[in-house]
């Protein structure tokens, strides 16, 4: 098996993540933050240790680092939490449904609206486009750090500066950027939403909402938190405010090991490795007749991209192509990748694309074997 579907979920995970997840199921098996006994206490301490690692990684305080089930969950907290009556949102034109659906729902439910700006390779133009979409009643700019379809990055620092100037909340969907791209609250982002199971190499069922605490968020889920239990209103302090019900304890603890792994390797080295694999893939695939690339990553433009490449095998749909590759032992995703906006942008809304997305564990050999397989498939078309 050659797994190249890491934009959906990284696999394999570092050994330390498997070990900690397994250990947490038994050694940290009590409910954290609920009971006073030693077992509950030690579990809560292990959760805190992981929370503190995640917080430090994103330049945040532990109490502003909220464990969620995934990035979608975090984006719902952030977008719906910031919505007010009649408010307006701004998003890019390549958002994943994880962002655009909550934006659409929040705008609809608050009697407001949203506008999209065009994200392009020219970063100054992207910021200009975003600024033009902002209105006096804009509550937040919600933007992906990088497209999950064609990898195009957005200028996060510059957009953060724009939002600061306009005094609106900047929410970053870091599903494709956390663990590779430099994404930190220190750059002026107000809320980072991240998946634990992608570039942070944690288990599925983990995610993070990281805030700088500067914008008050309404809750969309209320319930038991193990704190301030005398009140029927939700705690006003974080992370408890957003962590109702028992969290994915083993997952949250193991996520800390994933973050450790990324920190040891460094996001820069991981990004460099993965982009080099993308360049290798693009260079090889562009010479195969019958293969169409939708974003060609080269040494010259790599700084504008996250390590994701969309392609198709001519004469077949993306799902048929992905199925053929799967039969050959190459695991990649075909279809729309839950991001119809991005597919409209690149003209693949009707058929989708096959997505090549390597991880820190992927190798040149993986890429070369995939290219040989693509040559064989394309030759038969």
């Amino acid at each position: 098996m050659i797994y190249l579907d890491n934009a959906a979920t990284t696999y394999p995970k570092p050994q330390a993540v498997y070990k900690m997840w397994s250990r947490a199921m038994s050694a940290y098996g009590a409910n954290p933050g609920r009971s006073g006994h030693a077992f509950s206490q030690s579990t809560a301490e292990a959760v805190y240790q992981s929370r503190a690692k995640c917080a430090e990684f994103f330049g945040a305080e532990p109490e502003n680092t909220i464990f969620t089930l995934n990035c979608t969950h975090a984006l719902n907290f952030a977008v719906k939490g910031i919505a007010r009556n009649g408010c307006h949102f701004v998003t890019s034109d390549m958002e994943h449904n994880a962002a655009i659906r909550p934006v659409y729902a929040a705008a609809r439910d608050c009697g407001g609206s949203f506008d999209m700006f065009e994200a392009v390779e020219d970063e100054e133009q992207t910021v200009y486009n975003a600024e033009r979409a902002i209105r006096p009643n804009t509550a937040a700019l919600v933007c992906t750090a990088a497209s999950n379809v064609m990898g195009l990055r957005t200028p996060i620092k510059e957009l953060a500066a724009l939002c600061r100037r306009k005094r609106i909340c900047f929410i970053v969907d870091a599903a494709q950027g956390a663990g590779t791209l430099p994404i930190t609250l220190k750059d002026g982002i107000n809320i980072i939403c991240a998946a634990g199971h992608k570039g942070l190499y944690g288990p599925m069922g983990t995610g993070l909402m990281i805030t700088d605490g500067s914008f008050e968020l309404k809750t969309i889920i209320e319930g038991g938190t193990g704190s301030a239990s005398e009140s029927i209103s939700q705690p006003d302090f974080t992370p408890d405010r957003f962590e109702s019900g028992t969290i994915n304890t083993a997952g949250a603890i193991a996520l800390g090991e994933g973050v450790d792994f990324v920190r040891r390797l460094t996001p820069q080295r991981i990004l460099s490795h993965e982009l080099a694999l993308c360049e290798r893939f693009c260079a090889g695939a562009s010479t195969i007749r019958g293969v169409s690339l939708y974003n060609r990553i080269t040494p010259q433009n790599a700084h504008l991209y996250a390590p994701v490449v969309s392609f198709n095998i001519n004469g077949m749909s993306s799902t048929e192509g992905a199925a053929l590759l799967s039969e050959g032992g190459f695991y990649m995703r075909g279809g729309l990748h839950c991001a119809p906006l991005a597919h409209k942008k690149i003209g693949t809304i009707n058929g989708g694309t096959i997505r090549f997305s390597p991880s820190a564990f992927s190798t040149n050999r993986d890429v070369d074997m995939l290219l040989r397989m693509l040559e064989r498939i394309a030759a038969k078309q």
Binding site: A52, E63, S227, A228, S229, T238
Partner: protein
């Protein structure tokens, strides 16, 4: 023994880690009082002064004024 009541386990644990880095021994325990379920940061270091501890905690955003 100085006891500081804190609403959130995360805040309590952050306070504990911070104080320990400053050489002040303490533990976190679950507590229950008028304000409902919460957490008690117990300063077990006999030499620790409450005012000094609270000043330290204030520097990381942890307040000492929660009553039980």
């Amino acid at each position: 023994m100085t006891i500081i009541y804190i609403k959130s386990f995360t805040q309590a644990q952050k306070a504990l880690a911070f104080l320990q880095r400053h050489g002040i021994r303490c533990i976190v325990e679950r507590s229950f009082g008028k304000a409902g379920c919460g957490f008690a940061l117990k300063i077990t270091d006999k030499n620790a002064d409450r005012a000094e501890v609270c000043a330290l905690l204030g520097s990381i955003g942890v307040r000492c004024d929660l009553s039980r």
